[in-house]
């Protein structure tokens, strides 16, 4: 187990390193830089040169990269070129927003999606199943942006209330925070709950046709007992895998939802960093995203072992 973990971590570091090189090269191959953005419709060559030197943009790319890497290794993500604040702090506070959004969405989507899927599967072909399937299809077809917009405009038209636009962290005021986060979380959760419910229904239905279930039923156990004692366990593994996938999907949808609801999350931070060519912020944020994605994958693999001791890792 320990050997496996070390191997996985080593591979992760290598992946992160490769990803950082790719990100670095991609950013530099996009035309324009932060100096151009700052100077706008002026082009004093002396001023341009002075600013390029200030940001180290006059150095060859490989030296810029090594400089960045050596600072990152020593735990310093640098300072944002446009905001003038430490990148670590910027990413940290943005990450908290996005993580709250993602985790809450995951929990809500699971809480809605899994029971729906189970109920649908247990009533396969019946009216309940059809109703749930219809909801699922609708949820899958509606883009996150549209759901968010409809909720925002609909609720504000009907009640005259809309979420506050100035973000407040849960530590400052949980109530205020929830009134800001509720609509974004629901908007994201609709799609994921639908995806969940469909996946769970499929897994459960197919599990019921497996041999071990037939044996259990033949022993005279009720459908419900079979479900809770045998099926649920076997469905758990693909469910965890699916959860990992969904978490990554939620992170993607968060970019859109963060813009719609004015949340200062990671997606918006990266978007504005791209627009202003704020390399330190973008490189730092992408590095964190890569690390996060790898951590989710690793966590999922570890969970397999907990759920099913027969799974050999390594």
């Amino acid at each position: 187990m320990a050997v496996y973990l070390i191997k996985r971590l080593a591979a992760s570091v290598l992946t992160a390193l490769l990803a950082s090189i790719v990100v670095f090269l991609m950013m530099r191959s996009v035309p324009g830089d932060v100096v151009g953005q700052m100077l706008g419709q002026t082009s004093d060559p002396v001023a341009t040169q002075a600013l390029r030197e200030f940001f180290g943009l006059d150095q060859p790319a490989w030296r810029q990269y090594l400089g960045w890497l050596s600072r990152v290794v020593s735990g310093d993500l640098g300072t944002s070129w446009t905001r003038g604040q430490p990148v670590g702090g910027l990413i940290g506070s943005a990450l908290l927003v996005t993580l709250q959004l993602s985790v809450a969405t995951l929990v809500l989507a699971t809480a809605i999606g899994v029971p729906l899927g189970v109920v649908a599967a247990m009533n396969e072909g019946k009216l309940v199943d059809r109703a749930i399937q219809s909801f699922t299809l609708l949820g899958l077809a509606a883009p996150v942006f549209w759901v968010g917009l409809m909720l925002l405009v609909g609720i504000s038209t009907a009640t005259g209330w809309s979420p506050p636009l100035l973000y407040v962290s849960p530590a400052q005021s949980l109530r205020e925070n929830l009134s800001i986060m509720a609509l974004p979380i629901v908007s994201l959760a609709v799609l994921q709950a639908a995806a969940y419910s469909q996946f769970v229904r499929q897994s459960v239905v197919s599990a019921f046709s497996d041999d071990y279930v037939r044996t259990a039923v033949a022993k005279g156990m009720t459908r419900n007992v079979v479900f809770f004692r045998h099926v649920l366990r076997n469905v758990a593994i693909p469910l965890v895998t699916f959860m990992g996938l969904i978490l990554v999907q939620i992170l993607g949808g968060a970019v859109i939802i963060e813009s719609l609801f004015s949340l200062p999350g990671l997606g918006r931070l990266m978007l504005s960093a791209i627009e202003t060519r704020d390399y330190p912020v973008l490189q730092g944020a992408l590095l964190i995203v890569v690390v996060l994605a790898m951590a989710v994958n690793l966590g999922v693999d570890m969970l397999y072992r907990v759920i099913d001791p027969r799974v050999q890792v390594g």
Binding site: M38, G40, T42, R83, G84, G265, S272
Partner: protein
């Protein structure tokens, strides 16, 4: 000022509500328009927090190095230069108290205001003024504003409240240059610290009516009232939150529900949605900005003046304005709307302003393109007006056989092309402070004195720009810039289409906000909230 322009200065709703009284107020308007930051309020209530919603966030708050309009409109409340540029086009003393000019027009003796304190607590003296302007005019310090200060040879403090500024040749625009677009008076030696530039995003070090309380990226810029501010009795607001709201739909919902008290809007479809909402007031003022078509001579066949003229003769500016900003703008000739009265040549006295397809076709045939040619128009992603304008322009140019392809590029790419003078055929969207030298010189003066972004290389025009910069007699200066505009309209390095109005939506309780023609938020220094 004509009546329609006067009426534009007023909120239309206020006009309806107050009837005759509003007209009386309007007649006082032009005089008041030349007050610092706008007219002071009578019966104002002090206190309260104002929430301003912004679709575009300030990328940073450094007034020396950050050139974006989204920065300038906010930092003018925290930082002050020696002079204030009024919407009417005058340079009023701000941190200066007055000045004397030597007869040769080369030496300014400027008296500096007493009793002014920096946000950091120290008293401002002439030494700080000299330090700040010497910092910005040195190109090595990397300010985009440096070029405008080019003719200054020395600035020094002669005592605590006087500076002497020596020019290498007279510059009629120098006072306007010492306004508030770039730079400001900051404490002596401020930029000696290595982190000085970035620290401006956390702490303000100016002398303005508000100081920086918080700058949270993708969230808010919060300013607090400067309790030690030197003007008595102002500002009225305790706090201003500039809230970043990237989604237009969300901003409109926020305005309706009172989450946002005020917001500048640019898209006509957004404006229409709040125009008749109870409790909201829509204000509309003419501006110093211009939406233009630039014609870079490096792109063939735009190097042929006849081709450029033909394009100009095919362009229906009014149609493009209506299609792109829904009528919330003013069609212009060769001068931005708010400077037209002071500096512009009437549009009917300029060549190539009226659509004339036959003449355009003849010009193209003379230039060797009897069947037209293919041309690519560059537009910038995120500038909504350009999308509608591009389609309209394609229809218009098709009438003279010019087949237009539309290429949308990202702003970073566009700026790089612009700065390297490879702009080609493109829409442009830019603004000025109200002096013709600052409007035209850098853009149109041939190299190396100017940047000549469009590779125009017009010597007659360059000569006039040099003359206009040094001439101190206002009437002669107006004549010089009149002749320059004639050349510009005749030779067409650019086609200035229209100035979009500044449209500001605010809650009824927000009082005495005067929208400055630059689009900057100066007026908030005089705004108060009714209970």
């Amino acid at each position: 000022m004509t009546l329609p322009t006067l009426l534009n200065h007023l909120d239309r709703r206020a006009l309806l509500a107050l009837g005759g009284m509003a007209v009386a107020a309007a007649l006082v308007g032009p005089a008041l328009a030349d007050d610092l930051y706008g007219p002071k309020a009578t019966g104002a209530r002090s206190g309260g927090t104002l929430n301003v919603g912004l679709l575009l966030e300030a990328p940073g708050l450094d007034p020396f190095h950050q050139g974006a309009e989204a920065r300038i409109r906010i930092t003018v409340l925290m930082y002050q230069g020696l002079f204030y540029e009024t919407s009417g086009g005058k340079a009023l003393p701000l941190l200066a108290e007055g000045y004397d000019l030597s007869p040769d027009g080369l030496t300014y003796t400027i008296r500096i205001r007493k009793g002014v304190k920096f946000h950091t607590g120290g008293a401002m003296t002439a030494k700080d003024v000299a330090y700040s302007y010497n910092y910005i005019r040195d190109s090595k310090n990397g300010s985009p504003g440096a070029g405008d200060f080019g003719l200054i040879s020395a600035i020094e403090a002669t005592d605590d409240h006087t500076i002497k500024m020596t020019l290498s040749s007279p510059n009629a625009a120098i006072l306007m240059t010492m306004g508030n677009k770039y730079g400001a008076v900051v404490p002596t030696g401020y930029f000696d610290a290595p982190d000085a530039k970035t620290r401006l995003n956390q702490v303000s070090v100016g002398t303005g009516p508000f100081k920086l309380a918080e700058f949270k990226p993708n969230s808010n810029v919060t300013l607090d009232k400067n309790a030690d501010y030197w003007e008595p009795g102002v500002p009225y607001l305790d706090r201003i939150n500039f809230v970043s709201v990237p989604s237009g739909a969300s901003l409109l919902v926020g305005l309706r529900n009172g989450r946002i008290d005020m917001a500048p809007l640019t898209r006509p479809q957004d404006i229409r949605q709040v125009e008749n909402v109870r409790g909201l007031v829509v204000g509309r003022t003419p501006s110093f900005n211009q939406k233009a078509i630039d014609l870079g001579s490096e792109l063939k066949p735009l190097d042929d003046e006849r081709v450029r003229r033909a394009i100009s003769l095919a362009v229906d500016k009014d149609e493009i304005m209506r299609a792109s900003v829904g009528g919330y703008g003013v069609v212009i000739g060769t001068m931005v709307a708010s400077m037209q009265e002071a500096w512009g040549v009437p549009i009917d006295k300029l060549p190539n302003q009226k659509v004339d397809i036959a003449a355009a076709k003849k010009l193209l045939a003379d230039a060797g393109h009897p069947n037209g040619f293919d041309l690519t128009l560059t537009t910038i992603i995120g500038y909504d007006w350009m999308d509608a304008a591009a389609v309209t322009l394609r229809e218009q140019l098709a009438k003279i056989g010019v087949r237009l392809a539309i290429q949308r590029v990202e702003i970073g790419v566009w700026i790089r092309n612009f700065q390297s003078k490879q702009m080609g055929f493109t829409f442009n969207d830019w603004a000025t402070v109200p002096d013709p030298n600052l409007l035209f010189y850098r853009h149109f003066r041939s190299m190396p004195q100017g940047a000549d972004f469009r590779n125009w290389k017009n010597e007659a025009a360059s000569k006039l720009l040099d003359e206009g910069r040094t001439e101190s007699d206002p009437a002669k200066r107006k004549d010089i810039y009149g002749r320059f505009q004639q050349i510009m309209a005749e030779s067409v390095p650019t086609i200035m289409l229209f100035s979009a109005d500044h449209v500001t939506v605010r809650a009824e309780k927000v009082r005495n906000y005067d929208q400055h023609a630059t689009g900057w938020f100066y007026g908030l220094a005089r705004t108060w909230i009714a209970s």
